[in-house]
């Protein structure tokens, strides 16, 4: 074959390849649009029931803490990363895509609890720094929050510091950021006591409570050798958190929810007891810390925290009583939304791959022509 014919043949074959990739992209995009439509339809249906449900205000306790209160408490801490972050979310017109897209929220806003006592003791157990920690989905989100100068100092014109300075606020001191990518599902038959290289948090490996809209974790109750449950044991803290439907629908890139990644990572098997005495009587059953509603606290590492309790400035909000009429398949529908959103992210990744292949091919063919 002459060189000219060979060039024509190559050119033809590259053209066909490019067409193939373009067709693939069209196919993937149409799948993506169909998914997006289904998600929107479902969200509209679910949204109808949100607006129907009646919220009864909690007037009984003067110190009740609704979710708005939590957001207000955070906003009060003006010179904190969480404060600036919440301000950013509330003032959507100044949305900074990289930062906002990846961030999930501040820990204290991601769950609520049933009672004020539980809110106080759990918030105190976690501590202010953790309660104010910003949760990001990936390392990209973490990197978007803070950038550095070549000499290693913080660049105050970028990231959260940059946003802060534009609204005349400064991030004082340290702030914690939790990256959900750090929660790898490692398969172990029992919890490991030795430190695991690289694992910041121990993710949950186990089942979930069947048919539970809150998808609580199926952790066996603590028991004495005589099979009895310790007196005063209420539940595991991780299962006493109430997640709003938008947080319930959130999944990490590996398909897991917030409860089994973030909250299990922070609380693990923390047990909740009614009183301090009952908690102390149950010591042999306490593996990963415990708290009591009247102020008792044992940390995960076995450390006793004695003395007077000190309320943390930012606490979990209280679940308000709701009564509403929901269709029987409401939680199933929520699960489907969760799943479809996840599929949609994965489809977008396929699109990214195909686009990369197409661009690469076009660049190669341009090189050949040049």
């Amino acid at each position: 074959m002459s060189k000219l014919n060979q060039n024509d043949a190559n050119h033809e074959s590259i053209k066909n390849e490019i067409k193939k990739h373009e067709d693939n992209l069209k196919f993937l995009n149409s799948q993506s649009n169909r998914l997006a439509e289904s998600i929107l339809d479902l969200q509209v249906s679910l949204g109808r029931y949100h607006s129907c449900s009646v919220i009864t205000p909690d007037n009984e306790s003067g110190s009740s803490n609704t979710e708005d209160d939590t957001a207000e408490q955070i906003l009060k801490k003006e010179n904190s990363a969480a404060g600036i972050f919440c301000w950013l979310k509330a003032n959507a017109q100044t949305s900074n895509l990289a930062l906002e897209k990846d961030a999930v929220g501040v820990v204290a806003t991601l769950a609520r609890v049933e009672s004020d006592e539980l809110s106080r003791i759990l918030s105190e157990y976690l501590g202010l720094q953790t309660m104010l920690a910003i949760v990001c989905s990936t390392n990209e989100g973490v990197n978007a929050l803070e950038k550095y100068n070549p000499e290693g100092t913080i660049n105050c014109n970028a990231g959260l510091h940059g946003i802060g300075s534009s609204i005349k606020r400064k991030v004082n001191g340290r702030f914690a950021v939790i990256c959900l990518e750090a929660f790898r599902q490692e398969l172990t038959s029992k919890p490991r006591k030795d430190t695991i290289h690289g694992a910041l948090f121990r993710p949950y490996v186990g089942g979930f409570v069947a048919n539970d809209p809150q998808k609580k974790l199926a952790i066996p109750k603590p028991r004495f050798p005589n099979e009895e449950c310790p007196a005063g044991f209420i539940d595991y803290a991780v299962n006493m958190l109430y997640l709003e439907s938008n947080n319930l629908s959130f999944v990490t890139s590996s398909g897991h929810g917030l409860r089994e990644t973030l909250f299990y990572g922070l609380l693990s098997g923390l047990q909740v007891y009614r009183t301090r005495n009952e908690m102390m009587s149950a010591l042999p059953c306490i593996d990963e810390g415990a708290v009591s509603l009247d102020g008792g606290m044992i940390k995960k590492n076995g450390m006793f925290v004695l003395g007077s309790r000190k309320d943390v400035e930012v606490k979990f909000g209280i679940v308000s009583g709701r009564s509403g009429v929901v269709p029987p398949n409401y939680s199933q529908a929520e699960e489907v939304v969760r799943r479809l959103k996840w599929e949609s992210t994965k489809l977008a990744e396929d699109i990214q791959r195909e686009q990369q292949l197409l661009d690469h091919l076009k660049a190669k063919s341009a090189d050949k022509v040049a």
């Binding site: 479902l42 449900s53 398969l187 290289h197 690289g198 089942g207 929901v326 029987p328 396929d350 195909e354």
Partner: protein, 162 residues
């Protein structure tokens, strides 16, 4: 295991069976064989383009195969193949309840050998897997995307398409 919840279930209207939220069947469509085959073809072609790194001087301490996989992905900025990720997960599962389960894994297998093994596996998977077979496996594994890495390295200009 069923446990009682600390708060009330939402009130259910006994007459609301006709008010069920209509659920889409799109999720079923996504797992249809044709679509899976097409997506597997796209995936396999992409993975084939990524060159196996030639300079690998690293020695990575590790305590689990999936942990080592994650470190490799971060160090080289490359995804590992679905088939590789599945095997790493299986190797970790195989350790459960073994006598040396709690021994650090790099005491049992040298890190250099472990990493070399992963790269060899990776090369086999990238260069020789059939997308039809991958689609078959994906059909049996609805959550297959958990083992598909969302890492997108720059494709080198000297790579040849198959």
């Amino acid at each position: 295991m069923k446990r009682s919840s600390p708060w009330d279930e939402p009130v259910q209207n006994p007459d609301s069976s006709s008010n069920d939220i209509p659920l889409p069947i799109t999720s079923i469509d996504l797992t249809s064989q044709d679509i899976l085959i097409r997506r597997a073809e796209i995936y396999q072609e992409y993975m084939k383009q990524i060159p196996i790194p030639s300079q690998r001087g690293s020695v990575i301490p590790f305590n689990s195969w999936m942990g080592l996989g994650k470190s490799i992905k971060q160090l080289y900025g490359q995804p590992l193949h679905y088939l590789t990720n599945v095997i790493l997960k299986q190797w970790d599962q195989l350790r459960l309840n073994s006598k040396d389960e709690y021994k650090p894994l790099d005491n049992l297998i040298h890190p250099t050998k472990a990493e070399a093994t992963i790269w060899l596996m990776e090369e086999v998977h990238r260069q020789t897997s059939s997308h039809f077979q991958i689609a078959e496996l994906w059909k049996l594994d609805p959550m297959y995307n958990c083992s598909v890495d969302a890492i997108f390295p720059t494709l080198e200009k000297h790579c040849e398409t198959s």
